[in-house]
Symmetry: C2
Subunit: 309 residues, 2 copies
């Protein structure tokens, strides 16, 4: 099977960790071993990954050193994280493949994703990025940089940017050719570097594309047999956090759509994963959500949640 | 002709500039227009680039925010810069191709280059990277980080790292396939992310590979007809800075080797460019050095310096 696997940014450096390279390498070694087992089973693999914690640290570095080094905008920070994570992911996965004496090699592409600059997402930036601040500090940064801040549920303030839908990849042709030629490809890290096309020219924009939405697009572009969204949770739950909570082994598109509408799935976590799976299944594909450690079982339908037509 | 073009890091953000993204985009628009004219003339293009000024700024950011974010080692900083510059270069070049209504598209690969971990380069780190410091500050950073510092000709101190020779690319197969399929490929930015291979496993190392040496390897790997090293100087000079200085329109491998030995070409600038050309011409290729603005004329042998067997 041709698999598109979406890996959460937290799988690369765990939430609450220090974000050091040693920590990232250690998380990645575990993840890579699971992914290599899928290649060993004969599957073709296209990998995409989040960058939330990592781009947060890059944004903090931009701000802390702003007096000496001009801060880079969001599109360039996304590209920085694609280089950083793409390298670490590719190396860890390549090493895992080598340990299993597999001949497939891993390649990372810097990937731009086209978004609609006139979409409502740009008028109402909603996606929190980077560190959180007390109000006075957020105000000072906002005055100096023009960045928009919004109060979060914990009472602290974070920068918010647009999170527009991904329309297509700039590098679609070569991306497809590389996957067809049998390489393991790492692409569209962090949801892809967001660009708009205006009068035939590409321009980077201050936005973040949701990595699960981009994974669904990637699955469509490479003609994946299965979109596999790997996370920390073992399965999708309804009634999450209530006494009637239950895990789902399957969920139809109609059920998922209803629950998405009724707010059953949290915005920043399970919501976009379910939405991505619905999008791809509606387009004729297959999709599942489950824990990274259970990847092989999720693939066989023995763990996680399968989204059915 | 299949061209491998090596672009200096200063062509991406000019020496003495502020390093802002606006400055980089403006330099790149000019460079991309020259490169697109080569594609318009029917040539196939593989592009590599330096990252000196940019990785210097990344290193400064790592250090300024070290209290909040664990600094990344040199290999990861190289990968960060490949993402950043690869994105900006690809976008600028893609836009230049679109303005000329050319159908070729641009793709950036994150590229690892294997070096010999037992080479003498690691015992005598010599390549200055990052900002320069007064002695007490350099000592403090050295104590905290274990980094090696060396005094520079201006009396200030800079971190020095190993600059080992590039042996091969980890991504050689797909890199060659992409070039063969007619795409403009940006690869091995900043000389490539340096890794060693030990018992069949890849490990990043604290080093910087000279981008001109890597360009010569890249030219050999993709079977380039010409290695074109583009810089700020219009041609190679002998007697540089003396009353008898003269520019060379051609230079044989034997002449170049003699002048390299006698120290005719400065270490950190023209030396590695001439050395790279000598390597590639000795291996049966053709090579030239010249100014970015003169690229088309250098290609025709009407400007710059051609290195002949």
């Amino acid at each position: 099977m041709r698999l598109v696997v979406a890996l959460g940014g937290n799988a690369l450096s765990p939430a609450g960790g220090d974000g050091s390279v040693e920590e990232m390498r250690s998380s990645l070694t575990a993840a890579a071993d699971v992914l290599a087992s899928l290649v060993a089973d004969g599957h073709s693999l296209v990998l995409t990954h989040g960058n939330g914690p990592q781009v947060g640290r890059l944004l903090l570095q931009q701000e802390r050193s702003a007096a000496d080094v001009p801060p880079m905008p969001m599109d360039v920070c996304g590209a920085l994280s694609q280089g950083q994570l793409g390298y670490l992911v590719a190396q860890a996965l390549d090493n895992a493949l080598r340990r299993r004496r597999l001949s497939a090699r891993v390649l990372t592409l810097v990937t731009q994703v086209v978004v609609d600059g006139r979409s409502a997402a740009f008028r109402r930036p909603s996606k929190p990025v980077g560190p959180s601040y007390e109000r006075p500090e957020a105000q000072a940064i906002s005055h100096a940089s023009g960045h928009v801040f919004a109060i979060q549920s914990d009472g602290r303030w974070r920068r918010v940017v647009a999170s527009p839908k991904p329309l297509r990849f700039v590098e679609e042709g070569p991306l497809r050719a590389l996957v067809d030629s049998g390489h393991v490809v790492v692409a569209a890290g962090g949801g892809g570097v967001p660009v708009v096309e205006h009068r035939g020219q590409l321009h980077g924009v201050e936005a973040v594309v949701d990595k699960d939405r981009t994974a669904a697009l990637l699955a469509a572009v490479v003609g994946a047999d299965l979109l596999l969204v790997l996370t920390e949770a073992p399965a999708v739950q309804v009634g999450y956090g209530t006494p009637t909570a239950r895990s789902l082994s399957t969920m139809t598109v109609a059920e998922a759509t209803g629950w998405l509408r009724s707010g059953e799935f949290p915005e920043g976590s399970m919501g976009p994963k379910v939405e991505a799976c619905v999008t791809f299944v509606k387009a004729g594909g297959a999709a599942a959500i489950g824990a990274l450690a259970d990847a092989a079982a999720v693939l066989r339908g023995e763990a996680g949640t399968r989204i059915t037509p």
